[in-house]
């Protein structure tokens, strides 16, 4: 059993605060995810996701505000459109598309955040390390 490395891109306004909410409620989840705070999920270009894999990540999780709740009105609309295309491209190039996960977590949803992280860590743990699939 290896310890997967996961990069988590979280928007500053909803999901990062959702993670803080989980902390304030002392909910427990695996430590594999390293959270990178970004202003909006829309900031994350497909290249940054791919770059995470190149730098050694086994999985990337991208969390933003619920559609309609975006602090920047429509930033997450771009995420919602962009990322499924990237998943298709990943599949095409031989990267398991489940290594990238997109969801919406609000500032109030500490519990959802914890569940999402637990489940994604399990999904990634069940896959071989990313470097091995690239051999």
């Amino acid at each position: 059993m290896y310890e997967p490395k996961i990069i988590g891109f979280l928007c500053n306004w909803c999901s990062y605060r959702g993670a803080d909410t989980a902390g304030m409620a002392r909910m427990k989840y695996p430590p594999n995810v390293k959270i990178i705070r970004v202003p909006c999920s829309g900031r994350i270009s497909p290249e940054l996701v791919l770059r995470s894999f190149r730098e050694g990540a086994d999985g990337v999780i991208l969390l933003g505000c619920h559609i309609g709740d975006c602090h920047y009105a429509t930033g997450n609309h771009r995420t919602a459109k962009r990322m499924p295309v990237l998943k298709k491209l990943m599949e095409y190039t031989g990267i398991e598309p489940e290594r990238l996960y997109i969801n919406w977590v609000s500032a109030a949803e500490g519990e959802k955040f914890t569940t999402v992280i637990k489940e994604f860590t399990e999904t990634i743990s069940a896959l071989p390390p990313f470097v091995e699939t690239m051999k």
Binding site: G23, P31, G56, A107, A108
Partner: protein
Amino acid sequence: MKSKKKPQERVGVYICHCGSNIAGVVNVEDVSTWAGKELEKEGVVVARDYKFMCSSLGQELIEKDIKEQGLTRVVVAACSPHLHEPTFRNACSRAGVNPYLFEMTNIREQDSWVTTDKLEATKKAKSLVSAAVGRVVYQKPLESLFVPIDPNVLVVGGGVTGIQAALEIANSGQHVYLVEREPSIGGHMAQFDKTFPTLDCSACILTPKMFDAGNHKNITMLTWSEVEKVEGYIGNFTVTIRKRARFIEESLCTGCGVCWEKCPKKVVDDVFEAGLGYRKAVYTPFPQAVPKYPVIDHENCTYFQKGTCKACEKFCPTGAIKFDQQDEILTVKVGNIILATGYDLFDARKIPNYGYGRLPNVFTSLEFERMTNAAGPTMGKVVLRDGVTQPKSVAVIHCVGSRDKNYHNYCSSICCMQSLKFAHLVKEKTGGDVYQFYIDMRTPGKSYDEFYQKIIHEGVNMIRGKVAEIIEGEGGLIVQAEDTLVGKQRRIPVDMVILSAGLESRADAKEVAQKFGISCSADDWFIERHPKLDPVATMTDGVFVAGACQGPKDIPASVAQGAAAAARVLSIIGQGEIEIEAATAMVDEITCVGCKQCVASCPYQAIQFLEEKGKAYVQEALCKGCGTCVGTCLPKSITLKHFTDEQIVAEMIGAMRVMKSFEMTEVA
């Protein structure tokens, strides 16, 4: 990124113990020693751990190191940056380091509080510190932009909270637009009879305030109006308001009341009288309404529906009735917004076993408020649904829709006190028996528990237990409940039941939140910036919340919040100008291909396309720094300051550097 040389910086790393909050789980000494040694090649020259970094001593420690060790970058690993990023940015600034050369990493909410295994938590802390150090050396100094504040204020909601906020601001000399959806301001408080715990008359204390607001030279009152659109940012909002047609020419109307006397059409008043009384098709909700002008209810007016009548027009002495009046669309400019949109009452029909809507003598709390009100439909008499019979016994049921996982989990906070007030009013007006069915009695607040004691002494029967059902029987109603203090089931025959229905967020709270760019909790209450330390601000600068729209609240708390929001707004106006986001986007004109993808992706229309150059251009004052354009730009010509690709990649490499080295040491 690889081709560029890593900048040579002198980084200081500070690990906070946060008492035992962090140090109890994370081995902070180990993290700081490790950072000093292992991250030396990344530029770390000082690494320390300290009990409370946010204390003045902690901040002085940073300032001293900046001056003595010549630090050019600072990393603090402590709580969430949402809490203390401004604190440490200020400390850096004081010691001469640009605040944007500081990076904070969260080893409390996102590490020590969520990780069970101490070794794992320590490892995660190292990874987070390494990521922050990796990033900070690529950060660039930024200068903030300042924009002037428009001193006008928009207050949405004319209940007691909104009135208080509007008066505070107007009295200070600033102009307020007070928008109210109903024909009159006053909100729920205008419907009540008595207020707890003092039992003074609600209207007597509210109507002077309504009058003041209605006649204030600095308040533009927009009733029967709703906000349609909000654009802009703190200091510079443009708000579009729909002022619905009243079909009354306000400049001619004297409020004499002839129109509603002559109107032949009677309508059940579902809003103000809670369905218990009637109004006319042309009406003011109550005699003390502010403003005094009535409205014509388009849906129920005989003229609008059938084409004939016009009785009001015939009798109006000033010719103020205007059947051809249209909705007006107003655009106002304001610098700050206060939302005081209040609450809705829980719909008791949702609990079928309580029989509301089916059993005539089951009333809601709001119906009872109207009933006991001397100006209400029964002229203050407590009577059954038939309108004449006085009840000999009354049951008051607490927590209807609140503290119930099937409906709302939260406590509505006002119902215990309200129910005790009802008990007193029933006793006073009928002398009958009163049974209170409660789960727990919650009476915190000044003079509240004393009120509870007083009601007990008045001879009210207190039964601790949740009511299972209310059925018909024995010539009246039977309340079935478990008396948990006695441990027995009880069936109590009564003539009347009052359901103390909980408070819930407005049905359109989510829609309103989206309009103003703020968020809602799981129960759709508006979310404040910080539950304790910033209770009236929101995550959107310039938008404040006050009163029950933020969560269930009684009158004193709502008034306090209205005034608090006003004070916050006045403090911003007093500053004259405000710092706006320095982390804005920037276009590299050399590589921009002019595809206009960024222009289309920007939620704020902040990106202009310069036709003559064929390049995109970011207008800094409009840019909010979301970076959506950066994620969209194919040739990577747009950079979001403070969140550049370089910085984000350095952060991820930093994080994974630790994960890798740990794996190797563990294997070895």
